[in-house]
Amino acid sequence: MVYLPPPHLASADRPSYAEAYAKILASHRRSPATSASSVIMLVAPDVDALCAARMLADLFKQDDVMHRIIPVSGHAELERMREELVTYNDLHTLILLNMGSILDLPSAEWFGDFSTRLTVHVIDSSRPQNLSSVFGGGENGERIVIWDDGGAELLQEERKAWEALTYEPEPDSDEDSDLDSEHDPEEDEDEEEEEEYEGSSSTGKRRSIGDGNHGRKKRQKDERPHRMSRDERERHAARLEKYYTSGTWHGQSASGTIYILATVLERVDNELLWLAILGLTFQYVTSRISREDYDKYHSIYYDEVARLNPPPPAAGANDYDFKSQHPDDTSVYAVDELRFMMFRHWNLYDAMYHSSYIASKLGIWKERGRKRLTGLLAKMGFSLLDTQQPYPHMAKDLKLSLRHKLDQIAPEYGLVELSYPSFTRCYGYRSQPLSACDAVEAISALLDVATGVRMEVEIEGARNGGEWFGNGKVWEGGRESRRRDDERENIPPGGIAPAAKPKNTANGDVHEDADEDDPESQWRVKNFWTAFDALDDIVQLREALPLAMSLHRAIIRQGSSIIDKRDIRTLRGHRVVVLTQGPDLALFAHPGVLGRLALWLADALRDRLAGTTPAHARSRRKSLPLVVACLNEHAGTYVVVGVTAALDFGEVRKNEFGLAFLDAKERCNARTRHGTFDTSVLEINKDDLKVFLETLCEGGDR
């Protein structure tokens, strides 16, 4: 029920994060049946949730609270997890990270039936939130605690509408007095709940509703039973509809929320700050928040960095490449980051080639565009040979002049917003400093493809002045980890089928699910833990950078070929891309990778395609709705991702595809499955795709 306002809005009778945390500690320490399963964290598979989980785990470890972290990849798995959790007797705290805010948690379907000792904390950055979780009252609702970032304060209208609809019984046109008496017990209940409400709240508005009901009830005992006219009901219902169907967007990152908790508890340090920075950078880099929001949070973290770290050495003011000052140096520096993809680990040409911003402005999928890129570099004084050298080996004076020249010359080509403020962290003498966006790329690459798909990774130095000897090696990071015992112990006599080859003769979705899920969830879990370990270990993180680079290369290859072949169809305002062949098809069957391809395409095509208003959209604002589907040959399904990109760089639009997909699915009876928590990603049976796409695009006629 309770949504926790952030600490700056908290007051004596409105508890906030710190109190909720103290309650977790108290119930852990006081309950006699405390065991390792008393506090369980369910974590969604994205970088933000991962960072938040790590931060929370650190805080718990310092407080000696035994906890368990369980990765959950989608709704289906969450349901299965729920079944399992019902059987745990000693569970008293459940924390959901980046999942569950859209679910109706107090209902019986989810956590309504659990024992009353259980408290569910939801720390989720995705919006909209389910209003019954946020506002639901009563004993059942008290157990669901939503950690809010201040957005719920703005939902007062929705609150009224929701309360009106939930607590008022159906308007009855009969005037029987026995109906009065029938209604009485219900009213009493309602009144009790509202009184509890009033007790725990302090805003005048709520009191007035309570009083209003009271007054109306008195009147109503004399008059007829129905309290609200149909118009009012409809108005309220429309208001709620509007809230839920305006699309999905994101609020404060989960790791940011936990950072605020740590600030209130006065236990922040560089580790927590760095993880919070990673969560924020992830949100910005994957276009979940707009540039304005990013700047807002960035300035907070900037101050924190200045507070917790020594100022950067004055000599390095011109040099954007920081060096660690001493072996224990783990400080974080604020520095402007260029929009090139991992340019400190690649050569300059590749970094610029793979950046989606430059891709769109220069049109690099064509030969002409590539020439423009080399022209730009030449104008800045970098010869072809220089740009092909790995960045660490580039000449020092070139590095120093890079930023300066970029500012001077890039605007001629239309590249204006090349840098954005970000952070870098030193790792003592163990490694070069690593920037936040590179770390985010590495971790999300690990999460997506550390195992489960065969990735080829380039060995540094295999290139020489533009010629490539083709020496790649297969990525083995995930398998090298010490979890080899899983594979040794449970090998059936025939050997295990590797993850990428599920059984072929499946008929019907259910059978496929059961068979496919086991290897699929296995590699998902492995990826999760590989990424989790890498958060701490700079060596593993650096090793993951080549993986991220080859992932990008695959995305660019596919994206350029799509644009080249003009594979983008326009169906009634939607741009649709269907991938049925290509060298990397197995790779793009992963929803995370496909999502990135969609974002890259959206960025690349931003200036070239006119904005459209999709047929089903609520608002009249133009945007760039893009649907990308990729064939998963082995499973016989298509993975479909919908992205609503904004027309201007740096802004975001609410993603309306979640609802559009559900709509279309119902109307054409397609067999679909939501594999992840993102409602704009789904898996659909191969034969239903065409019909589905058509119904999706006709969505406007209702």
């Binding site: 470890k61 310092q62 407080d63 000696d64 236990r267 340090d269 001493h326 072996p327 224990d328």
Partner: protein
């Protein structure tokens, strides 16, 4: 234990670290605690911000949970170590160092580098001292005879290093002397 053969004859360095962690060190606690009884004794009460002496194992545990700050022992600083290093490199015999200096220094500097004024300088000084002493103990071993080996001011880790060697060596020497003596008696 599954250690290689040479290490099985003596105590391992990690065990020495464990033994050394019983020593008391001074901390500035950040949380309060009553006088509590542990297996090895009763420690506390912890009343921030006044200092208190606790065993090193407890100090590192609190430090990792960010509940205290460690006060460096009076021998673990740059001036003292520099002085000792000079003595070590100029004198013939071993200079006086706290008996378990290597273990204590390792544990404290690894857990709490931020509580020391100059941790990398301290680390390099410690390394220099250790190398100088190592050279001396190698020389001293050449003076080994069957009855005694006198190396004053040797510290626990160093003793542990040479122990397997000189025990066996002395055993062999004693055998040789015993064999030599009866011949003398007869003659």
């Amino acid at each position: 234990m599954a250690l290689p053969a040479p290490l099985r004859a003596s105590v391992t360095p990690t065990e020495l670290e464990l033994i050394a962690s019983e020593q008391l060190v001074e901390i500035v606690p950040l949380v309060a605690m009553e006088r509590t009884a542990f297996i090895s004794g009763a420690y506390g009460p912890l009343r921030p911000p006044s200092k208190c002496k606790v065993p090193i194992w407890m100090a590192t545990n609190l430090k990792l949970k960010k509940k205290c700050r460690i006060v460096p022992p009076d021998w673990l600083n740059v001036e003292f170590l520099e002085e000792r290093l000079v003595q070590e490199t100029t004198g013939e015999s071993f200079s006086e160092m706290p008996f378990r200096f290597a273990e204590v220094a390792k544990v404290l500097i690894d857990t709490a580098p931020d509580d020391f004024p100059n941790p990398d300088k301290i680390r390099s000084l410690l390394k220099d001292i250790r190398e100088a002493r190592q050279a001396k103990s190698r020389e001293g071993l050449s003076k080994l005879d069957h009855s005694e080996l006198s190396l004053p001011n040797l510290c626990s880790m160093e003793i542990n290093e040479i122990r397997p060697f000189f025990i066996r060596a002395m055993g062999v020497l004693i055998d040789i002397i015993k064999d030599a003596q009866p011949q003398q008696d007869i003659a």
